[in-house]
């Protein structure tokens, strides 16, 4: 039976409508707003078209520059560790053992807990007086207790630790799916050829996992670029702006300060950064797929 293009279009309309309304329109609206100077609390200044002024301000704003740097460091530290731990967990969960199903479910818990809740939990863990970290490090010796969230470097490390704990299960899940796509004959063949487990891992598992790993990196990067809730709950960007990631800075400008134009410029900046990174990864992803097909 021939399919009618008109009917097909009709069925597509709802999806176009929703994508347009909830994703394309906001992006364009943010972009439009970012070209204006719009300050909610000073309505008499009106909506003044300023061209790219918000963007030039952004590039010369030392707070924004620090914020971009903080965000990139955050990505560069958390993602490799998440992948490493995720790979370890996935390799374990790929083995056959009793209670594997249960363990697979349990591993996902950190990822399933709403971030606001787990951030609050981590805030308690890092508390300077009754936090678990201090107890584990120093026991009853309260005089050497440290205050991780009060120190600029340690606060950043604390946020990273919480992020790694929270999203490693997600990386593990994707990698596990990749592992299960590798057929057993390859391992059997390697065994017959007398390959050591390490050789098998390096020559078979890792190359065939590349697409899954790249996918995990892609998702995690886009997500980490937009990190917000951990910072919002745990540090509010402090101390000394040490955890003032880009998305949090954008929020502070747009909502508490009402600087909608400038805040939108930051939002567009985050969007562009994730777009560029995604495209770069997708390119790498494509070549690796080809490579996978013709080994």
């Amino acid at each position: 039976m021939k399919s009618s293009p008109r009917i097909a279009l009709l069925f597509l309309v709802p999806s176009f409508f929703f994508v347009g309304l909830f994703s394309i329109f906001p992006i364009f609206e943010s972009f439009r707003l970012s070209l204006y100077r719009l300050i909610l609390t000073l309505p008499w200044l009106g909506e003044k078209m300023v061209g790219l002024e918000n963007y030039t301000d952004l590039l010369s704003d030392p707070v924004a520059r620090d914020s971009i740097r903080t965000t990139l460091i955050f990505i560069a530290v958390t993602i490799p560790l998440e992948l490493l731990f995720g790979l370890g967990i996935a390799l374990v969960l790929d083995q056959v053992f009793r209670g594997r199903g249960l363990l697979r479910a349990v591993v996902l818990i950190p990822w399933a807990i709403p971030t606001v809740v787990s951030s609050q939990m981590w805030r308690f863990i890092f508390n300077d007086r009754y936090g678990l970290i201090n107890f584990l490090l120093f026991g009853a010796d309260t005089s050497s207790y440290i205050a991780p969230l009060a120190d600029p470097n340690l606060a950043m490390i604390s946020i990273m630790a919480a992020e790694i704990w929270k999203t490693t299960p997600f990386a593990a899940l994707i990698i596990l799916a990749g592992l299960q796509g590798i057929t057993d004959d390859l391992y059997e063949a390697a065994g017959i050829d007398g390959a050591t487990p390490w050789q098998t891992f390096c020559r078979i598992t890792l190359p065939l996992l590349k697409p899954a790993l790249l996918l995990a990196v892609l998702f995690r990067t886009i997500d980490a670029l937009r990190v917000f809730d951990l910072v919002y709950v745990m540090t509010q960007g402090g101390p000394a702006d040490a955890t003032n990631v880009l998305q949090f800075y954008g929020y502070k400008k747009t909502f508490p300060e009402g600087m909608v134009g400038y805040g939108s410029a930051i939002a567009v900046m985050v969007f562009l950064m994730s777009l560029v990174l995604s495209l770069a990864y997708l390119r790498a992803f494509k070549t690796s797929r080809l490579y996978g097909r013709n080994p």
Partner: protein, 464 residues
């Protein structure tokens, strides 16, 4: 025309058109019952019924008042007060929406609603730092015709002034906050030391007691030094009591880089945090700093009036009965400065029931409710008469002696751009305190420059 789909489509189309025509006839009054009148009649009945059902909630909502607030420390008192209001005003239903406790987060929620001109918001609680912003943005209703000068006389002057912006008033004071010094009466008596009247004296007293107690868990001072709004409140008290200022209100320029302001910031970094407190305070808001004090682990503590009832409540505090409360020290005797805080009730400009909203606001800020809240939570009332109330005096004995402190409490800059100014100040204070090797001078100059850039926006009004 061999495609059956098209035929069906065509039929549907023509039927639809016929329906449209009859509906048109219905609305234009050219309405004679056609042949299929029964179907139409049924449709009419359904339509009427539907309209009625849709309108019903609106009818019922005629006297519904939307109130956005935080969760009170004594929700039962709060709910009881709302219940009383509903009883006194039959047919009125107050729907409370409980927002976040944090001022900054509640601000997000409220400005979201106000920016969208949400008519489902009538009355809201308002931090004393918001009226200028809400007035300038056109979100808060001026209350001058309701809140008469005679009525204002019955309140403390500082919070009434905080509700004003450019000659109009936008808030009714609900309770007043001012920074106070709490101290361990028992420890000071043990070492035979008086409550300190200057900051250097406080450091000295703290060091003496710390040296004598040799308790590794004890710190000399606990305050709020996290990078958030409370940091500005705390730092302002040191700066102003040293003769400095956050900004010059007349010239509308920052005063952070002036020598007295810088000296006060250095004092906090080197002496308060450096000598008698611990670095943990750099992550403290009110609850954490108060917990340290009520656990008996701090000699001195800076907080708002409510901390008194928490610290004196044996169920919540290990030091109940051992607590003293006094005005904050200054850099010279008698020159202490308290930051003005507290909450007001505001009415949305988009409210469709401003009269009813006002009745609710006066009721909730009335003497009876303020008294109940003061007794239950220790929040300091804004009505002068309550400072002579025997029941309150019994519960909070020092309250009357603090009246002067409350009246002289200094508001934070009253300007619609307070939020950006505050973020700049928070960044500056937090950087200087958390990074001990930073140059105060350079950071202060940077912060002052940023503040002036924001303040310049206000000047554009004169030269449109």
């Amino acid at each position: 025309m061999s495609n059956p789909n098209l035929i069906i489509e065509y039929r549907c189309h023509s039927e639809e058109q016929r329906d449209k025509e009859s509906v048109f006839a219905l609305f234009s009054g050219n309405f004679e019952l056609p042949k299929h009148s029964r179907a139409l009649k049924r449709m009419l009945v359904w339509l009427g019924g539907l309209l009625f059902v849709c309108a019903m909630p609106c009818l019922a909502k005629a006297a519904e008042l939307r109130f956005v607030t935080w969760k009170s420390e004594a929700p039962e008192v709060w709910n009881q007060a709302i219940g009383d209001f509903e009883r006194q005003n039959p047919g009125v239903k107050v729907v409370s929406e409980i927002g976040p406790q944090s001022s900054t987060q509640l601000h997000d929620l409220l400005t979201q609603k106000l920016r969208n001109r949400d008519t489902r918001l009538d009355v809201f609680v308002m931090d004393v730092i918001w009226p200028a912003e809400f007035a300038s943005a056109g979100w808060a209703l001026p209350l001058d015709s309701y809140f008469t000068p005679a009525e204002r006389e019955k309140f403390l002057q500082a919070p009434v002034a905080a509700g004003q912006y450019r000659g109009q008033i936008f808030g009714v004071p609900l309770f007043i906050d001012a920074g106070l010094l709490y101290y361990r009466k028992d420890l000071l008596e043990k070492y035979n030391l008086p409550p300190p009247r200057t900051w250097p004296e406080l450091v000295k007293t703290g060091k003496t007691i710390l040296a004598g107690e040799r308790d590794p868990n004890l710190v000399g001072f606990s305050g709020q030094f996290k990078q958030y709004e409370g940091l500005v409140c705390n730092m302002m008290e040191y700066i102003l009591s040293n003769g400095g200022a956050l900004w010059d209100e007349k010239r509308m320029v920052s005063a952070l880089a002036e020598p007295p302001a810088q000296a006060a910031v250095r004092f906090v970094r080197d002496r308060i945090i450096g000598e008698i407190s611990h670095r943990g305070v750099l992550a403290y808001e009110e609850p954490e700093s108060l917990a340290l004090f009520t656990q008996g682990q701090a000699i001195f503590h800076r907080n708002w009036p409510y901390a008194w009832s928490v610290a004196s409540d044996a169920a919540k505090s290990k030091i109940a009965g051992k607590v003293g409360m006094t005005p904050l020290p200054g850099f010279s005797v008698g020159r202490g400065v308290a930051t003005l805080g507290g909450w007001q009730l505001g009415i949305s400009r988009f409210s469709q029931k401003p009269d009813l909203a006002w009745r609710f606001a006066t009721f909730m800020s009335g003497p009876e409710i303020q008294k109940r809240i003061a007794l239950a939570t220790g929040r300091a009332p804004t009505r002068l008469a309550l400072y002579d109330d025997p029941e309150i005096a019994k519960k909070i004995p020092q309250l009357k002696s603090l009246l002067k402190t409350f009246n002289q409490a200094v508001p934070r800059p009253r300007t619609p751009v307070y939020a950006p100014l505050s973020n700049i100040m928070q960044r500056y204070f937090s950087s200087v305190l958390a990074l001990p090797n930073t140059g105060v001078n350079e950071r202060a100059a940077l912060a002052a420059r940023d503040m002036n850039r924001v303040l310049d926006l206000l000047r554009e009004r004169q030269t449109p």
